[in-house]
């Protein structure tokens, strides 16, 4: 099997792809990037914590005009994953405001960004409507 690399380092690949956050051991605030001290409580200890892969759409937009090189249209959303907010594009849904609804249930999925000259495939994530 070809080698894979996650598009961002908070995406964990494998049998059950999921996102991981740096969680403040004191107050539980979660961050997808590194922090020197917690932005919420100021304490300095963090642990890795997995993020729920099921959630619901708390907000979205359908981008139809973007910077050069960004393929449009695309649907992007703020997804509430069991209390942790995550940003991610929505896939397997038409980029049509009649098809995307606030509150709709979604589930994490992965997407391929393509393979580089060394045969390494970059894997991104998105959310798809959950049955």
């Amino acid at each position: 099997m070809a080698q894979q690399i996650p598009m961002v380092d908070y995406l964990v690949l494998g049998d059950q792809p999921h996102l991981v956050a740096n969680e403040c051991t004191s107050c539980g605030a979660r961050f997808f990037d590194r922090r020197n001290a917690c932005a919420s409580c100021g304490k300095r200890d963090f642990r890795k914590t997995p993020i729920a892969t099921d959630g619901f759409v708390r907000s979205f937009t359908i981008v139809t005009f973007a910077a050069p090189g960004v393929p449009v249209p695309f649907v992007t959303a703020i997804v509430d994953c069991d209390g942790t907010s995550v940003r991610g594009n929505l896939v397997n849904v038409e980029p049509d405001p009649q098809q995307v609804t606030l509150g709709m249930k979604v589930r994490l999925t992965t997407t391929s960004l393509g393979t580089d000259d060394h045969g390494v495939e970059a894997i991104g994530y998105a959310f798809a409507p959950a049955a």
């Binding site: 908070y10 759409v57 090189g69 449009v72 703020i78 405001p97 606030l102 960004l113 000259d117």
Partner: protein, 402 residues
Amino acid sequence: MASDDIWILGIYMTKFGKYPDLDQVDLAAEAALGALDDGGVTIHDMGVLAVGCLMSSNAGIGQQLQKQIGQTGIPVYNVANACATGATALRTAIMAIKAGECEMGLAVGVEKLAGAGLLGSGGQAKTTGNEWTPKGRLGAVAPIDGRIATEAMPGVFAQVGMEYGHKYGGTSFELFARISEKNHAHSTLNPLAAYQKRFTLDEIMGDMMIAYPNTRPMCSANCDGAAAAVVVTGAKLRTLSLEQQRRAVKVSASVLTSDPYQEACQILPDVNTLTRRAATQAYEQAGVGPDDLNLVELHDCFATAELVHYDNLMLCPEGGAVDFFQSGAPWRDGRLPVNVSGGLQSKGHPIAATGIANIWEICHHLRGEAGARQIEGAKVGLAHVIGLGSACGVHVLEKSGL
């Protein structure tokens, strides 16, 4: 007037629009000299100069302005605070005065933004050599914009408005478009607005979609422009002419906040909490409440943003922004006119100028000098800006009692 009150003595804004033959310093000079003339003072009376020009924030525009209108050796603060840069410049001058360092100061905001296009989008820095290489704080092998999220402002603020809809209900594409319809209609009375064209609701909804639900006329207009204000202590103002005292506008509150931690603020900028905090502090400082306001200029960088700020500035009960708008209140003939200048969507948004231009608008009404768009009998007004990142400036202004 109490000795330690702060007053706006003179204020000026250039017409917003396209100035291909003028640079930032030319526009800043027009605004600065305009404000000094309006206040009946000169650069030699100023004890501090604060200048913002976000897109050239490392260029020392403040010192360049001095070379254009008068090098008096006073301290210059070049400030940058995203779209709150103008309000930050004004607050910087006010703080110097409040600290007792001087009696009068000049604040200037200027921007050249005509034709700037989409802001916020980092562009597509392709990985060189065809190899996936993790970069930056997220270890990303490709740009986030378009793959995980939208980083351009129209989509970010679209989500701000949609989130409000999710929380409280009642929003729709048409509702947001109607907010834009109001501001474009208001702009027809403002000769300094970049655009003075009234759009029908159908025209707004049928225009080019940028990021649902924001179509092009629902986005702030990139343009060139500058605005400047002269601030003075109450003690100094008492020594000036009666005419200067009569036209002076009291700064009843001047507040700047940043965003306190909230869950999700790293995901979608939280423009709500810091605005609500700034408004709360401003009402407390000024000793007035939302019901005392006669007009408001708020940061409608997108139609979706205006809605949430009705609520954040407490112009309506919590969750009541849709009802507030649908009651007709924020139209110029309504209970509490909002953005009678045309707002950022129509007057335009030359970033660093915006946070002083909105105060110019309020002052104009409080002085009874707003011409065809005068809100009759206006005594108290509020000006609000927000810069993503975030910074929020709120000023409450009151008519002189003279």
